[in-house]
Symmetry: C2
Subunit: 207 residues, 2 copies
């Protein structure tokens, strides 16, 4: 079922008179839907046009290739990652981030993003690298860096922990277990990951 | 190009008289090739039959569905994970494991496995879960457990580090960076991951 993700989005019974920004938004919306249902490999310009209740020509006029369309759909559809509340401890801050990451992963744009990441080969994903990096990877690293840096200031975290391998550990675990163990990441799983992986990784070394 | 992965595999110019185990092997081989080139979604019974230089009926006679065929192709094609040499330190042992894991990831059966893991949705991957777990996940965990347990005995590693989150960290990082950063995992990357992620994670806590 197609549901609109914006309060001001047009009704899906829109007439063929839609044009400009309204039609563009309907097409980008339909592209996200297709990614979530039939995936990157199953997405066709015809399917997107049908989903947006328009003609193929209207899609091709704006986006000459499937790659162009999907890049724009991700760029427009992925919500801002936002900030992170300061809950006073690195454990609580990380847990808050994990809960939010889980929500994002299983949202409509999150599912669309996963389809692209998993189905594209190395050459294709190159095309989306900028969008994915700017919209997801970089902001996530920024939040994790903030949490780790606060922990270092509090003396909770070792001073050399603010590095890329540490920042990637949570996103990597969430992707890996979703794929390999079809894990749904319960609240308890997330807490265990923080307690058994992140806290030992972050704490100061023996003097 | 199709290359045989067994010294005793039949030449690809085999005549239509192949039957039994020889023909089965040619079909399973062709299925691995298809996974590596066109992926899970692109694999067709027709394509596999063509690759094995046989007819579609010969494939369907043995494997009624694409799922059955791919499960058998993975089960037969994935090489044994093997043991791990004892190099005297957890750092050197982990590095040896990582080098071997990288080789396996980019081998023909490794590429085929990745196609299945990444392209299948949660319901489809359920069908392959047993094969993947038995052939890859479980043996990898067993090796990591051995390395970590040796480290605990030597006093190099904290006693509570032998747990699933720690064992999954390296496979998770290797999958994540391959997908998100199209990282090729140079020897230096692997060493940095050991030094910046695994060693701090494993070392004994401050008393």
């Amino acid at each position: 079922m197609v549901t609109s993700r914006r309060a001001d989005a047009p009704a899906r019974t829109a007439s063929p008179r839609r044009r400009g920004a309204v039609l563009e938004r309907a097409i980008l919306d339909a592209a996200l839907d297709q990614l979530g249902t039939v995936g990157w490999k199953g997405l066709t310009m015809e399917g997107v046009a049908a989903g947006a209740q328009t003609g193929k020509a209207a899609v091709y006029r704006r986006w000459p290739t499937k790659e162009d369309l999907v890049a724009d759909a991700l760029q427009t559809g992925l919500p801002p990652v936002g900030g992170v509340p300061d809950r006073g401890s690195v454990r609580e801050d990380l847990l808050a981030l994990c809960l939010r990451a889980r929500e994002a992963m299983f949202s409509r744009p999150g599912t669309a993003l996963q389809a692209v990441v998993h189905e594209c080969d190395a050459t294709q994903v190159e095309r989306f690298h900028g969008v994915i990096f700017d919209a997801v990877v970089e902001p996530t690293i920024r939040l994790l860096r903030e949490v780790v840096t606060r922990g270092i200031r509090r003396g909770e975290v070792r001073p050399d922990a603010a590095n890329g391998y540490v920042f990637d550990a949570i996103p990597a675990m969430m992707m890996y277990r979703s794929k390999m163990c079809t894990s749904e990441w319960t609240d308890q799983d997330l807490e265990e990951m923080i307690d058994q992986l992140m806290m030992p990784l972050l704490r100061p070394a023996a003097p």
